[in-house]
Subunit: 83 residues, 2 copies
């Protein structure tokens, strides 16, 4: 499982849209605070694999492609840990 | 914008995984309670268009293809309205 403390140090790019606190900065983006970590991992891996199109995928695919499996686990654990 | 009261009557299929209360029934599914309606609409339309693959898309694509624009707006408004 990911390390939420490590994840906190990896969300600088995420936070521009999803907030450091997991509350989206605009309503077209999803809130991530308290989201299930397992779902967040699945979602980021689908973007990274180029499977998830539509929506904000033009932004998310390259972001996810910069992440290792460990990065994804840590980021997911961080956002899941928030209220 | 969608009608949350109408949406409540349209989530029987959604609720099997996402809960009537928007809390997922298993951690591989996302919680939807309080999610931004605009994001939920975008997500369902991406599934309906066949753009969003990976993850649970094999389940979600046919579900979304059964929904009209009004259904999507109402369902999104319902889940967004929950705590």
């Amino acid at each position: 499982a990911g390390d939420p403390a490590a994840g906190e140090g990896k969300v600088a790019a995420c936070a521009a849209c999803h907030g450091t606190d997991g509350i989206a900065t605009a309503p077209i983006y999803p809130n991530l605070a308290g989201q299930n970590a397992e779902y967040l991992v699945s979602s980021l891996k689908a973007y990274r694999a180029g499977e998830r199109g539509g929506g904000m995928s033009a932004m998310m695919t390259p972001q996810a492609q910069a992440l290792s499996d460990e990065d994804i686990a840590d980021i997911a654990a961080y956002y899941a840990s928030l209220e």
